[in-house]
Assembly symmetry: D2
Homo-oligomer: 260 residues x 4
Amino acid sequence: MKIRVTIWNENVHEQRNPKIAELYPKGIHGAIADILGDVEKYEVRTATLDMPEHGLTDEVLDNTDVLIWWGHVAHAQVSDEVAERVKLRVLDGMGLIVLHSGHLSKPFVKLMGTICRSKWRENNEKERIWVIEPSHPICSGLPEYIELPQEETYGERFEVPAPDELVFISWFSGGEVFRSGCCYKRGLGKVFYFRPGHEAYPTFYNENIAKILVNAVNWARPLDITRPTLGHYEALEKVEDIYAGMSDAERKHENLQNMV
Amino acid sequence: MKIRVTIWNENVHEQRNPKIAELYPKGIHGAIADILGDVEKYEVRTATLDMPEHGLTDEVLDNTDVLIWWGHVAHAQVSDEVAERVKLRVLDGMGLIVLHSGHLSKPFVKLMGTICRSKWRENNEKERIWVIEPSHPICSGLPEYIELPQEETYGERFEVPAPDELVFISWFSGGEVFRSGCCYKRGLGKVFYFRPGHEAYPTFYNENIAKILVNAVNWARPLDITRPTLGHYEALEKVEDIYAGMSDAERKHENLQNMV
Amino acid sequence: MKIRVTIWNENVHEQRNPKIAELYPKGIHGAIADILGDVEKYEVRTATLDMPEHGLTDEVLDNTDVLIWWGHVAHAQVSDEVAERVKLRVLDGMGLIVLHSGHLSKPFVKLMGTICRSKWRENNEKERIWVIEPSHPICSGLPEYIELPQEETYGERFEVPAPDELVFISWFSGGEVFRSGCCYKRGLGKVFYFRPGHEAYPTFYNENIAKILVNAVNWARPLDITRPTLGHYEALEKVEDIYAGMSDAERKHENLQNMV
Amino acid sequence: MKIRVTIWNENVHEQRNPKIAELYPKGIHGAIADILGDVEKYEVRTATLDMPEHGLTDEVLDNTDVLIWWGHVAHAQVSDEVAERVKLRVLDGMGLIVLHSGHLSKPFVKLMGTICRSKWRENNEKERIWVIEPSHPICSGLPEYIELPQEETYGERFEVPAPDELVFISWFSGGEVFRSGCCYKRGLGKVFYFRPGHEAYPTFYNENIAKILVNAVNWARPLDITRPTLGHYEALEKVEDIYAGMSDAERKHENLQNMV
């Protein structure tokens, strides 16, 4: 069965800035769609900020196994309703891959429960991404590090919850480090944050970056999940009220006496 | 230096239900305040839903190292503004201890990023709380299990992020288990969720429960924290733009050629 | 490509005790081999204590992606050499699934670094295994709990490192809980500990237990892992010795002065 | 009550190499002892490789709350018996702080269950240690990074289990990163691995390094721990054998029929 991937991009830089348009003529979403070009394995659609409901209608999300998110300057323009909808879908099992400056997007911030800020600068620095957990599915087939000659710089402290699994740490020539590959389970869904991918660099044309995105999609897709019962639930075992028939005061007394 | 603790209780059951009022004549907040009665160590105040700003003004929070939260039927009556304020204070270093049905309170849900629901029933069942990490500060001085003859029952799956440290697991006579003691670091603050403490049982009079609350307050208090710089940040090392003077097209070409 | 699975069983109870032989006429290893009967997906072999090198020669391990281990009364009879060999293979990428009393086996104890003991009794109690992380690959296709009418009982505290991922918690009718499904990454390999499977009960004939073993094999298999360089390593960046030409005393002085 | 700290140092470089002797005239153990000079808080002793039982007799360990370990060239000369003794003490509650090349010491390797190797070189590079978890007790009072103008370089992948809490990540000018502050709970004890401290640099004279060691000792000290019962354990609840009186075949049949 194909994995249904929706690639969301705010698609603002590409419209406003000819340099970015030249770098990513199909948009960043288009470049990522090309990565997932194996039509036997992936059914890919894209969605952008300017579409009705940002292209993330209930119908689209009903048909999405994994959502990839790229956003930067227009986080505030994403409606709270759509952001909450995305969050709830993740909690219900949809995979979410958040790229680069998407760490400050509404859905990611809501899912983390923190502010998610970090240090940053645009300084044409080298980023070397070290693989920390070579046996993790997201690291499959990668060399022991990936080198991007120029990228935007992010620096710790990255204000997120400690990831369930930390798979990459970046080194920057300016002197910073960054937890660049962070895996989270949230509700019934999986979330992967991946740091690189600034609009001014051709990062999404790199084959190792492509490999990571493919691996992440495969990892984040929902499996055969049984939704647990939430709310009122009958006892599975026969339980006797050991203080049945007692007054409230007697109950209190007995409970107090018999605590350990 | 004293640890400044604010105990927040919705204080609704105690007002409406004479049975609860009899069980907790000073309110649940009052019972917890008694636990933290060591005036050399703790400076304790209480706050309730019916106060202006629910008693959690900026001034109160400015003077709070650790906030204890008990809520149940009135979660929706807590204003979004106060809930957000509490969340931000935690991210800025304040400790938060969330008790029992407080798992569905606005501040906790916001901090977790998940829905935080579970199974539940009121069935007068025995709860046996097993200590899983005996070396954790919150478990100091405890026996290997605590037994409450009657409590409300909660059951997995508890829909929260996997705790950074899981210190207690509960057994219930009706057949369920529950991750009863969950430690989280969020932002610069620490959060401890502790399961027991239903209003209809004298749980907060138990000496081991008291020990846990005291331990948790000590653990959650902010230490000497240096706030990390967030936002734009100058490079600490001298960085050369290796493609300086190149056109955008040349830069793209070089970046693509030299990725690893 | 098929996943190559080796099922190791001490195979002592089956030889000595006619009751166990009747319950598992093919041995526990045979019952597990039947679970992995899909010959398109799995290439299965079995190995037992009484074979030369316990059936775990270098050649066998060279052809093993995932090793399943069942042991109980004969842990001490496993040679240290073979135990160390298994440990090293796991660190080099082989998956390891440790069943039930295998928590005290030499390879598992070596890999955990702890003693791995717990409470236990044989008392014909009910075990109910709750799924804690429904989105984990090992939980795929499972109901929200599994019930075994009778099993041996284990109780916390289970003296192991906190698992990287905790997927199951068991409830026992005698009053205990147990972390029944524990996932670890160790070196380049993955380890899954799964609690049930006492020799006196037909646990390995249950279809949900079978599903878990199949899921665990799929999860633990090595992917396309790049072995990281270990040992001496040349700098990737040009580094200048900022105190070159200085005497040792001057170096010490400069280093001390310029620390931050 | 004072925290009783034993500082163990192989003390080989200091004996053999006049440069090291000049840098650390009291030995590295002596420099660390000076850090813990607050006699109201700490009772400090030192022990070295050349002492009988390496100075780590049962009597010494009986009087040790936290053991600090520095070793490098003489790991193999530490007797297996003493290494095992140290490991068992940690599992029984003693804190252990492992410094720099102590990552390859026998006690640490035994406790981790892995090989614990990494990349390394001696190249007079700058190390910048970033604080990842500012609220952790070990980070109390630290600036957001520490800078050592020259240190030995270590590089990922560091072949250890993912730490329970990752508090520091190092940046090196040669292009590597390293998980420099790793917290583990093992058995009833706590372990802290801290990367810097090569014998050829005056690292242990730095006040922030000193702060970290003091914080780590406070964090790792055993609290009031209740040793859990391990081994056979009577049921806490009354349990009925629901298939009492049945033959083995009937039991098997009933167990199979009634699994869920």
